[in-house]
């Protein structure tokens, strides 16, 4: 059981998280955030292992990981 939360206001949609997610379950949202970015979002939370690779690579400290 694990999941991530993306703080959409900090996220700039660079998708380094998606690139380094071993399960490939992070995608870009199609909803703009207040800064005009399409933030990242987790698509299949049930596959998340809570490895925090996404959070470690996030340049905006936008990801919180739960496990």
């Amino acid at each position: 059981m694990a999941k991530i939360e993306v703080n959409a206001d900090r996220c700039k949609g660079c998708l380094l998280c998606a690139e380094f997610c071993p399960k490939k379950i992070i995608k870009q949202s199609d909803v703009l955030n207040s800064k005009g970015y399409y933030p990242a979002m987790q698509t299949e939370p049930e596959k998340c292992v809570g490895c925090a690779a996404c959070a470690k690579m996030c340049p905006d400290v936008a990801i919180t990981v739960y496990r």
Partner: protein, 248 residues
């Protein structure tokens, strides 16, 4: 479920103003995590440079000041000499540290100043829009080297970690990068150690972090990481260049 990863206390609420995918943000977080884990947030005084991280004091949640371009090591020296009990660090880019501020960093290292320096090398001037940096690679195109950096004209890039490690005053010099979770873990360990040394009264300590500049390199964040790996690491090899604790 428990939180296993969250924003460190030493990172303030204000969202970063860096470009999307710029690895400055990762480096900020590693500094903040190190400070939190060492329990020194209330003892730290940081010095922000001129460059992309000029507003670093807005993103960190502890006492900080800004310095004139290149002068952060001198400012940090003044702070540390006035308050030796505090933990003082500078956060500087390549233009700031290795061009205009070369004298300041060399002499801070030579004096074995008991400070920690986080040196972010992305081989380009980001804030002013993509000009040649002292660390720009031979052949690399920038706004001011539109045909690529040529040795006949601009000479060679400066290898800061190698250069400073020749100084007796340097205690700990390591070059790291943040282009994968594994690299990030290693960079974190190095940064934390560079603060730990200062807590133990040892200096000078510098961590050079190879970083990306997707905007000025004209690449996507992911392409930038690949470019860094293929071009920067061969020229700027990762590793420990000086570790006083080992050699002493």
């Amino acid at each position: 479920m428990q939180k296993v990863f969250e924003k460190p206390v030493s990172i303030d609420e204000k969202p970063f103003s860096y470009c999307a995918g710029c690895t400055h943000g990762i480096i900020h977080r590693l500094v903040a995590e190190s400070i939190d884990e060492l329990g020194i947030r209330e003892k730290v005084i940081g010095v922000a440079p001129v460059g992309c991280s000029v507003f670093a004091y807005e993103f960190f949640n502890f006492d900080m000041c800004s310095a004139a371009h290149g002068r952060a090591p001198a400012v940090a020296t003044g702070i540390k000499r006035a308050r030796p009990e505090n933990i003082v660090f500078t956060y500087q880019g390549d233009g700031d540290l290795a061009a205009i501020g070369t004298a300041e960093i060399v002499h801070a290292a030579a004096r074995a100043e008991k400070i920690t320096t986080i040196f972010v090398n992305n081989a380009i001037y980001g804030m002013t829009g993509g000009q040649m940096a002292p660390t720009t690679l031979v052949g690399q195109k920038t706004d001011t080297t539109p045909y690529g950096r040529k040795v006949e004209n601009q000479g060679y890039p400066i290898k800061v970690a190698e250069m400073l490690s020749t100084l007796e005053g340097a205690n700990y010099i390591e070059r790291v990068t943040v282009i994968s979770p594994a690299h990030v873990n290693k960079a974190k360990a190095a940064i934390k150690k560079a603060f730990q040394y200062q807590i133990e009264g040892k200096g000078f300590n510098l961590i050079e972090v190879l970083s990306t500049c997707p905007s000025c390199w004209g690449m996507s964040p992911i392409k930038a990481i690949e470019w860094l790996k293929a071009n920067m690491i061969p020229h700027y090899p990762l590793g420990v260049y000086k570790d006083g604790a080992k050699t002493e």
